[in-house]
Symmetry: C2
């Protein structure tokens, strides 16, 4: 029996909105934010400037960037009451949940204060300071005041490690944040826009984004890639591991992407970063990198013909590890960065809002089933 109507399951190939935020050039393996090549932004810009670009649609002048960074620094502060909320959510949850709980519990104040743009900037500022403290507490330390002068990337490392970060660490994490800031409408961003389309609020969209990013088919992939490298353990075991994995039809974590059927342009950039991180940090980072490199090499021969190439998540574990982020927090750092993309899409969508309300194709029992009294059912 054929369905009478087309069902676009997964919405593959369906355009759901117009956006001026990013262009995924899947033919040439390029990614642009508001027309700027992300590779160039990683080399020359900062996460703060990229946030401005995505929120306001243009690069700032010097004065505009200074004013924006000043505002953001103010939002990165956490006062004693805010630290208390972080302690409280950390006591009962961790990771992405703790970050989401923080926004749910403080959202009312967020929404009542300032324009949606103000709220967006506040959320970007708070997120890193909250997550840094969640990671501290999870590691047995007490919460501490952020140091906004270090910038979003530096402050996050400072909170996680309790030390002023090395310049190369700040640069690494800043680049990672830029690379994760925006990527069109994957599930989490689309979910955030679905929530926003009901005229819910900025932070409800962020919480939706976090809840959706959690899934292993989305943001969870980079932690899974890390665990995979750990499981393999040694470059010499790659061949045997891969053969077994493929014969068991297991996915190679960090390979393949719904949109890119060639090498993920972000992965190309992070691959080079991972190599540098291995050289600088050595130890565990180098060990992970050697397994990853060998796995890429061997897996590409089998998977490239199927259109499966390493994506962003394949190479980030080495960089995260080099800056001190524990593996169970990789996805949460991704969330902190992607908040920019979520709120930028929400603000853009609200300019011409349309409630998102699709249809389902009913495939159940025919209408008009007889309601048999319960005593007579069997």
């Amino acid at each position: 029996m054929e369905a009478p109507l087309k069902v676009y399951k997964g919405l593959e190939g369906i355009y759901v909105l117009e956006s001026a935020l990013s262009l995924l050039d899947t033919e040439n393996g390029k990614l642009y934010y508001v027309g700027y090549d992300v590779e160039e932004l990683v080399a020359k810009s900062s996460y703060e400037e990229v946030s401005y670009l995505l929120l306001k649609g243009k690069l700032p002048t010097k004065a505009e960037l200074e004013a924006f960074v000043e505002k953001l620094k103010g939002e990165m502060q956490l006062d004693e009451k805010e630290l208390e909320t972080v302690r409280l959510v950390s006591k009962r949850s961790s990771g992405m949940d703790a970050l989401a709980a923080y926004f749910v519990l403080t959202g009312r104040g967020l929404v009542d204060d300032g324009s949606p743009m103000d709220q967006a900037i506040r959320a970007i500022g708070k997120a890193g300071s909250v997550l840094g403290n969640v990671i501290r507490i999870d590691g047995g330390e007490d919460a501490m005041y952020p140091d906004p002068s270090l910038g979003v990337a530096g402050n996050l490392i400072y909170l996680v490690t309790s030390r002023k970060p090395e310049p190369y660490q700040i640069e690494f994490l800043d680049d990672i944040l830029i690379l994760h800031a925006e990527h069109g409408v994957p599930a989490s961003t689309f979910g955030a826009v679905v929530a926003a389309s009901t005229l819910s609020d900025v932070y409800s969209s962020i919480v939706t984004g976090i809840m959706t990013l959690k899934g292993p088919l989305h943001g969870g992939a980079s932690e899974a890639a890390y665990q995979q490298f750990v499981e393999i353990g040694d470059p010499n075991r790659v061949e045997a591991w891969l053969e077994k994995a493929l014969s068991e039809r297991r996915r190679v974590m960090g390979f393949g992407h719904r949109v890119y059927k060639i090498y993920d342009p972000r992965a190309k950039i992070v691959k080079a970063m991972a190599a540098r991180a291995a050289a600088i940090a050595g130890g565990r980072v180098k060990a992970l990198y050697e397994v990853a490199s060998r796995l890429e090499e061997v897996a590409l021969t089998k998977l490239a013909p199927k259109g499966l190439f390493p994506n962003l998540d394949f190479w980030t574990p080495m960089v995260y590890t080099a800056v001190g982020i524990p593996p169970n927090y990789f996805t949460a750092v991704f969330a902190v960065s992607r908040i920019v993309g979520w709120v930028a899409h929400v603000l853009e969508y609200w300019k011409d809002n349309r409630l998102i309300r699709p249809l389902h194709l009913y495939v159940g029992p025919p209408a008009g089933q007889k309601y048999v009294p319960i005593e007579e059912r069997h």
Copy 2:
């Protein structure tokens, strides 16, 4: 300049999944759950039985229903630690946020315990007991233990009012819960499925549903309808109010629906309930009902030709009020009921999961913008 590709903004008319849960017969103004006419379910069934129907795809035998209700009753209990969590989230938030925060903070335990079906039943059981206590605390009372023997509807009224509810109150709220349990893929259910499609978990989908239902274009409509009746205040002021509202292009809250272009079948049922509630409860309920009735009459002459008819949210304020739910909690009660629909869709979607990852049409500046050093920008 024309867009080269079709953008399905709002996903209007787009089928995103197959489902055996509900059939919205928009031609004949009928709604069916798993083939059963909702009007008949409201008359003969209970929220518990309907939950079973939606989760398991068939009506239960007597033994099956008893076992299901027993399990649900166990989940409706809140122990002292759980009450403490409710107090904690109520101290820092309220309404839908408090309900969402409860699930975010306890979700880890929920996910680690039992199958997704077990987790779904747990969430259905907890939701009403948590919300009832959130409403208590918001009203200045302390949290208290639920009474699962009263059923989901009766227990919720009991917690909110501190009194064993009248049988007619239980019946009213039970019918309301049945009517809100499932309705295809509105924004909140679709959002829950988008989250689930990343292989996130049951409670992340529920939190997403709550965050999305919050919007005034979705679940918030019934509180808005209530406020509108209060604003009008007297049936004699309906004409003048409506004329002014229409001239200012204000929406009549509770009128119109994306899918129904005729009288919402659920609204027809609740309209009769609202009339009964007004007769039994009198006072405020009767006053609201008289304004609503007159508004419907007058507004229909103007709006029916445009395909705008009263929807569910137009008539529920009278019934909620008759059972003691404060207006700022109407939407949260809707959420408690709709959790069944959310989790039923999630479990159904997971049987043949496909990551939801649509596309956007890029409409920004051309790729390859020149990155001008900040000193040279103006």
